[in-house]
């Protein structure tokens, strides 16, 4: 792709920086969509009483987000909200069906397989399940050494082995264990192997998909600290995906909240916990049990009714309206844009606006967001 092309794509996108402080984002996601076809809609389906229209899961449905060099972007949401699919689509482990992923201004979604392979080095992934993501028939040396070989990062056997040892030390594993197999390690140690493998290619950007969810509490702290240290030492940029709001709060600089395929709130990590604007975020944060009995006995909790609806036929308008304690009629019809309610604090809710950011104090049935004063960054 030419420079001209890059500029075109960048300018075609909504305001190019979500933070607006002049820094260039490392990753720019623009209107990204990942839709999965489930079948239905054929003559056969009609004959056997299947779905008369093609059924589509809109796992990711128009997400725009900038991630800046050296930051940790936390992506949080409940199961089925599309957060893992979004993470995979960024690296094209799942093919996006629409939109762009710009890495240093280059659209990854438009690259050929061969061109993509050239970029993959810079973009790596750490997976949730350290049991399933390591090949049980490969030794640690082979697992960590594979990316080193694939990307030609070492000349000769000795240099490769040296690099594997270094990486093991970096993640806190004894190089004595190079010849061992994954099953000989505990969950936390396996996650360290997964991290070493991701680092082997010397990436700039790492998607960590629930990297600590399968681990015990004391081990979770170890892995979070390790990831933070590596970030400092290697100037890594993370997309940290998790359903664990406490972990997300701890590791992230900024947090994006996802609900049924869409981003619903985006802000600085501290701000979003102290002052969530959008009702879903409010409920999510109030639902996190706090390890302090005094706080637990006094705090106000918003308990949502019902389950997360199916992403196959998501609710009309605001997708959260079916469970939202503040929903009004208009919420069923209008899909709220992600708008800047406070400086660098974006939320998708028509019941708030920059003038009236606190939903508690908005008049019943009023929807100040519809009067359209805020800076809208994405639909």
């Amino acid at each position: 792709m030419t420079m001209q092309g890059v500029q075109n794509t960048a300018s075609a996108a909504p305001p190019s920086s979500l933070q607006g402080d002049g820094r260039e984002p490392l990753i720019s996601i623009r209107e990204l969509k990942v839709h999965f076809k489930l079948g239905g809609g054929t003559a056969w389906d009609r004959l056997v009483g299947g779905s008369p229209v093609p059924r589509v899961v809109k796992a990711v449905d128009g997400v725009s987000l900038d991630i800046y060099p050296g930051e940790t972007m936390g992506l949080v949401g409940e199961s089925g909200c599309g957060k893992s699919t979004l993470g995979r689509a960024l690296l094209r482990l799942t093919e996006p069906t629409g939109g762009q992923v710009l890495f240093r201004g280059r659209d990854l979604a438009a690259l050929s397989k061969g061109q993509l392979r050239g970029q993959r080095r810079h973009l790596q992934m750490i997976f949730q399940d350290p049991y399933a993501s390591l090949n049980p028939r490969m030794t640690v040396s082979q697992i960590i050494g594979e990316p080193v070989e694939t990307f030609g990062l070492a000349r000769g056997r000795r240099e490769r082995d040296e690099r594997v040892r270094e990486l093991m030390q970096t993640v806190g594993l004894s190089p004595r264990f190079v010849k061992r197999y994954p099953h000989e390690f505990s969950g936390g140690q396996r996650q360290r192997i997964g991290i070493a493998r991701a680092l082997a290619a010397d990436p700039d950007f790492v998607v960590a998909d629930e990297p600590i969810s399968a681990l015990d509490v004391s081990i979770q702290a170890q892995i979070m600290n390790l990831m933070e240290r590596l970030q400092r030492e290697r100037n890594l940029t993370y997309l940290f995906i998790s359903h664990d709001l406490r972990a997300i709060r701890h590791v992230s600089d900024r947090v994006a909240v996802m609900y049924l395929g869409k981003l619903v709130e985006l802000a600085d990590a501290k701000v979003i916990y102290r002052d969530p604007l959008m009702p879903y975020t409010k409920a999510l944060i109030s639902a996190v049990p706090v390890p302090d009995p005094v706080v637990e006995s006094t705090r106000k909790r918003i308990v949502l009714q019902g389950d997360v609806p199916s992403p196959i036929n998501p609710p009309s308008g605001c997708r959260f309206h079916t469970r939202c304690p503040w929903a009004i009629e208009a919420c069923k019809e209008v899909a709220p844009p992600l708008a800047e309610i406070k400086p660098n604090h974006f939320a998708a809710c028509i019941r708030i606006s920059p003038e009236q950011p606190d939903i508690e104090s908005v008049a019943p049935n009023d929807a100040p967001g519809l009067r359209g004063t805020g800076r809208v960054i994405a639909q």
Binding site: G172, L173, S218, A221, Q222, E228, R246, A287, R301
Partner: protein
Amino acid sequence: MSEQNGNLLSVKNLRTYFETEDGTVRAVDGISFDLKRGETLGIVGESGSGKSVTNLSIIRLIPSPPGKIVSGEVLFHGEDIMSLTQEEVRRIRGKRISMIFQDPMTSLNPFMRISKQLMEITELHLGHTREQAYEHAVKMLETVGIPEARARANDYPHEFSGGMRQRVMIAMALSCEPELLIADEPTTALDVTIQAQILELIRKLKEETGTSVILITHDLGVVAGMTDDIIVMYAGKIFEQAPTTELFAAPGNPYTKGLLKSVPDPADDEGAELYQIPGLPPDVAHLSPNQCPFAERCYRAEDICRREFPPFVQLNAEHFSLCHFAEEVYADSRAGRGDAPAGTTQGGDGR
């Protein structure tokens, strides 16, 4: 025998071992605790600490072989469950003591309608007729908040979401108005907003029925809001036992202290490095009886910790800690000083 000191349940010196190729695993090794009527007890621990085995032992659900309850008494209303026949235990289990497990999908029969699974319980334990049992099943589903309970009673488990399945499990567990409900990681498999719903439900039902609850979890946040007392387990032993507010305010054991500090607190998190307990949980099959099982990972450990098994020290009327330095650690906690050292950046090791 009559009830002692208002205790619904008294576990005394319970030991449950498993014979494995690797040697004898002392999964639960000398556990004692009491549960008062109407109270909620939290059992906290990491995987392999013995928290689930403790509770499976209480209702005699330990698979044997390889497992064996080696010794101990479990007095329920003063009657020792360990000395009952299988038939007698079966009459208690599901009726007077019932359980909720972590994974609602694997605990429900996928081939059986929800209503049928609920009916079985009251037909067996309460002698309900089919009609009575069906009405009771619908009523229970309503109680736990299944929308359109009557219409959905005849669904199969796969037609329910994870949160709804856990509600069904709770409906089953509460069908016979048990005196004791044991909930083993009841919300671990659920999303936070659904977790909040289920915890709220357990809280509400507990208030209405006065059921005593044992809540097993790894999540310190969950026990903080739900329990009256807490037991912290590590390597098959009780490391600390205290009323909930006391345990969080002034932990008297280095392991508890480390656990509490290694959980990020969203309300008070300045992004500083998390405290981390170094090393890995011990291999319970190869623990020396002559040392503290936590010594290798402990910031406070001295030679004596590697030579002698620690005493179970009483710190005040209801607060106990298994540690050679329990008094000192407790005093430090109360004074808000002498914390565990800040997180060691070098972190994990290759053990």
